[in-house]
């Protein structure tokens, strides 16, 4: 993909986010409404955003995951909650290009035409997210059924369909990838847990109590999707990183602007060294996070020792640094930063959820080493 093409898309998305999202952000936070979300979703289809990742042969745009990440970054700089809806959707679409052609065609076409279950954002569930419940396929009375409780997941309310990676005892460490449409998960939803952030995207656990699974639900081969899960999850971590960057960049920009306007001690506060230090440290984190995330998605990997970033660690770094940035951005705004109408405290709450999406950061650090053993 050409740089110019990528740049054009990002600019289109920036305009879209400014025109369609910016004005409503505070309202999305206070009165999250499924109708408002659906409105944004439908409009985004005019830019082909829902089908960005899907193969061109089935009406998709055929763009790489990097493009999705950049789109998420621009969306998150206006509203991480909206961005998170797209992030779950993009991740749920990832496995399609590796799935059975008939399955890929059905789902891709319905998404690119915004028809049926393709007319709403999709959800994605990874079995055994660190520290949380596992979902499993088991044989029961000659049928294959899905059981278990998922961790809290996004997009479950709106979801047109759900991509699920379930444990499958058919073989050791077996993972099977399932695509289930809206009606099938209808009765599995637990109550909205009301997270402090990303409010436009309510999170719930899904409780599967022996949901019958047929062979057409399974994409790919039974028990052989663990690489696909790894790939999808890695992309999802990258998407979370991108959203953290967008959120943090927005907080940084607000702080930079405010510091140039606010007077204390007879001068704008940007002239005080401590404020300069805070802003400089914010910029440092943003720059490092951005280059790490871009590298994560770049197709040409540098072949130097320690050069390839780990997706989980990138997510951990980017979300943690985003939190530090937002906390300081609020601090620079003084009392105003704590008030809802300035939009900064909302970013802080959003970023707190991003930090925990897909598992907790300190545990990622444990995991990345433990997995090498």
């Amino acid at each position: 993909m050409q740089f110019k093409e990528l740049n054009d898309i990002v600019n289109e998305c920036k305009r879209f986010a400014r025109n369609e999202i910016r004005e409503q952000v505070l309202d999305f936070d206070l009165n999250p409404s499924p109708a408002a979300l659906q409105g944004i979703w439908s409009k985004s289809a005019q830019l082909d955003i829902p089908s960005l990742l899907l193969p061109e042969v089935y009406g998709g745009a055929g763009y790489p995951a990097l493009c999705c990440a950049l789109v998420l970054d621009t969306f998150a700089s206006e509203c991480a909650g909206i961005a998170s809806v797209f992030a779950h959707h993009f991740a749920a679409c990832m496995p399609l290009s590796d799935s059975r052609p008939d399955c890929c065609e059905t789902y891709s076409t319905s998404i690119s035409r915004m028809e049926g279950y393709g007319s709403a954002p999709a959800a994605v569930i990874f079995s055994g997210d660190p520290g949380d419940g596992e979902i499993e396929l088991i044989e029961k009375e000659n049928a294959l059924v899905l059981t278990g409780i998922t961790p809290p997941v996004g997009n479950t309310d709106a979801a047109g369909f759900c991509c699920i990676f379930a444990k499958d005892p058919i073989q050791e460490d077996g993972i099977t990838c399932l695509f289930l449409d809206r009606d099938r998960i209808e009765n599995s939803r637990c109550k909205d847990i009301h997270l402090p952030g990303l409010k436009i995207n309510p999170f719930r656990k899904l409780h599967f109590q022996g949901l019958k699974i047929s062979s057409t639900d399974i994409i790919g081969e039974r028990g052989k999707s663990s690489d696909l899960m790894k790939k999808t999850r890695s992309a999802f971590y990258g998407f979370i990183s991108a959203m953290a960057l967008g959120s943090a960049r927005s907080a940084y920009q607000k702080a930079l602007t405010y510091a140039g306007l606010r007077y204390q001690y007879g001068n704008t506060i940007i002239h005080h060294q401590e404020i300069q230090r805070m802003l400089g440290a914010m910029l440092m984190k943003l720059q490092m996070g951005t280059s790490g995330t871009i590298q994560l998605f770049s197709e040409e990997k540098l072949n130097l020792p320690f050069s390839a970033p780990d997706p989980m660690l990138t997510k951990s770094f980017c979300t943690d640094m985003a939190m530090e940035i937002v906390i300081d951005a609020i601090q620079i705004h003084g009392g105003y930063g704590y008030m809802h109408e300035y939009g900064l405290e909302k970013i802080m709450r959003d970023v707190k959820v991003l930090q925990l999406l897909g598992g907790s950061n300190p545990y990622h650090h444990v995991q990345v080493i433990a997995e090498q053993l």
Binding site: Q331, G334, R349
Partner: protein, 482 residues
């Protein structure tokens, strides 16, 4: 093990003051009643926090999220019944006679459950603090009488302390900054008193207050030299309340914009004359900053408390989350910081009893009057009239001035600033870190863990931003060496 056997923080058996801060054992030997009283205070405060506050705070937070003007008076009434909102007033005059140490215990226990509800109950002492800072006999007696009367009748009585202006927060708390500020309020002399004009913002209880203590300059082109302190009944013509802010947290405590439109203040309600307003502010800060540090530490304790209980309940891979090594290390790490800052905060409270305004209660003239005179007589009209006598009124002020000197005030600003920054940074760090342990599931609104994080952030901002506190800390120590 049952969850209730996890006896940490709020769920530990009270009193555990000496057990958790062993150095107090030495004090207990020398002054048994001083420590025994603090232990009794801890029993009362912990019981109130656990049994009255804990079951209600999420419900209150929900209502205030919907409507920032919602005021929960139920908890306040319960605290009022126990006199927790007038705890510092001497027993003889109708209060609980709680020392600075006893009040620290109260602040810690209540804030460990909910910063906002704790503020509603304990910030009520602002009126008393303001009066004690003045220490003019007529003011002190008047305020104490108002507070105890209201307590007896069960009528809410709120105070607000109005310093911050839309264009000046830090500028209102530091002399160097104040000299350069552009005030949005002003006062002018008129026959019999003063007229106040302008806007103050972010005022805690501004929307509920019956009285406001406001710091306003007489000459906006020379704010520092002309800053004065006024005592304003909010029923006065020209006083009005603007927006009640929608905030990230601390929701049950209202924060409001207030307007002065040619508000008349009689001469007697000029608490500090022009040029002395900043000194009044600094003295209040010399008391409150240390306590805000303790609020922060208490919130960290409360958040950790919830986290430990969640990690005990939550099963992963066939064991408790609490059994994960990384979780244990993280908990210990947070505990060690809480232990260190908490001990330092109690050190501050005890120093407050030893040297600051609370030490007045130990001085012979005050002790003797409280002993000899009856409550009726002290708070009666004739005493109040006598106290209004200029000479007598000023004698109290002078007497106190000899004890709480400018130097002492700045010493406590220094100590308080260090604790304020330590405690509130800790609150933000710990309340965020516990969420990393409990995960998305533990962040569910109903569990009340995420609320600590939303509440904590404000403590780094008010009572002087943590940068302003660092400026004071350096200025008053290393900075003043040269």
């Amino acid at each position: 093990m049952k969850e209730n056997d996890l006896k940490y923080g709020l769920f530990a058996d009270a009193p555990d003051l000496v057990d958790t801060i062993p150095a107090l054992g030495k004090l207990k030997k020398a002054y048994p009643e001083y420590i025994a009283k603090a232990e009794r205070a801890q029993c009362i405060a912990r019981k109130f926090a656990r049994e009255e506050m804990l079951p209600k705070v999420i419900e209150i937070d929900t209502k205030c999220s919907k409507d920032p003007r919602y005021a929960d008076l139920d908890l306040w009434q319960k605290a009022n019944h126990l006199k927790l909102n007038i705890a510092a007033i001497p027993v003889k005059l109708g209060g609980l006679g709680w020392s600075a140490l006893d009040n620290a215990v109260l602040v810690e226990e209540l804030s460990s459950v909910c910063l906002a509800s704790a503020a509603n109950i304990t910030f009520n002492t602002f009126g008393l603090l303001g009066a004690l800072v003045e220490c003019r006999t007529d003011i002190v007696l008047k305020i104490i009488r108002m507070m105890t009367d209201a307590q007896k009748k069960g009528e809410p009585l709120f105070w607000a302390w109005a310093i911050t202006e839309p264009s000046a927060g830090t500028d209102m708390e530091d002399g160097e900054a104040m000299a350069l500020m552009k005030p949005s309020t002003s006062a002018r002399k008129v026959p019999g008193g003063y007229r106040l004009n302008g806007t103050k913002c972010f005022i805690t209880n501004g929307s509920l207050a019956h009285y406001v203590i406001a710091t306003i300059p007489m000459d906006p082109s020379h704010p520092r030299e002309s800053m004065a302190t006024f005592f304003v009944p909010t029923g006065t013509k020209g006083f009005s309340v603007g927006r009640v802010e929608r905030k990230c947290g601390q929701k049950a405590s209202q924060t409001a914009e207030i307007f002065f439109d040619d508000v008349f203040v009689p001469e007697e309600n000029l608490w500090e004359p022009p040029g002395r307003g900043l000194r009044h502010t600094r003295e209040i800060l010399s008391i409150t900053r240390g306590y805000i540090g303790l609020c922060g530490t208490a919130m960290a304790r409360g958040a950790l408390d919830h986290c430990i209980r969640f990690a005990h309940r939550k099963k992963i891979r066939n064991h408790r989350l609490l059994d994960e090594d990384w979780v244990r290390f993280a908990i210990s790490d947070m505990m060690k910081d809480i232990m260190a800052v908490r001990a330092a905060c109690y050190n501050f409270a005890i120093s407050m009893d030893t040297y600051h305004v609370w030490s007045l209660f130990e001085k012979i003239p005050i002790k003797a009057s409280l002993k000899i005179l009856s409550e009726k007589l002290i708070l009666g009209d004739s005493m109040l009239n006598l106290a209004k006598n200029k000479l007598i009124s000023l004698a109290g002020n002078r007497y106190k001035g000899g004890i709480v000197t400018d130097k002492l005030v700045e010493k406590f600003v220094t100590e308080g600033s260090a604790l304020k920054v330590s405690g509130t940074d800790l609150a933000v760090r710990v309340s965020s870190r516990v969420l990393d342990i409990v995960g998305l599931e533990g962040m569910a609104y109903d569990l009340g863990i995420e609320k600590y994080f939303r509440d904590a952030k404000v403590t780094q901002i008010y009572e002087g931003s943590n940068q302003a506190n660092r400026i004071d800390l350096f200025h008053n120590t290393i900075g003043s060496l040269s």
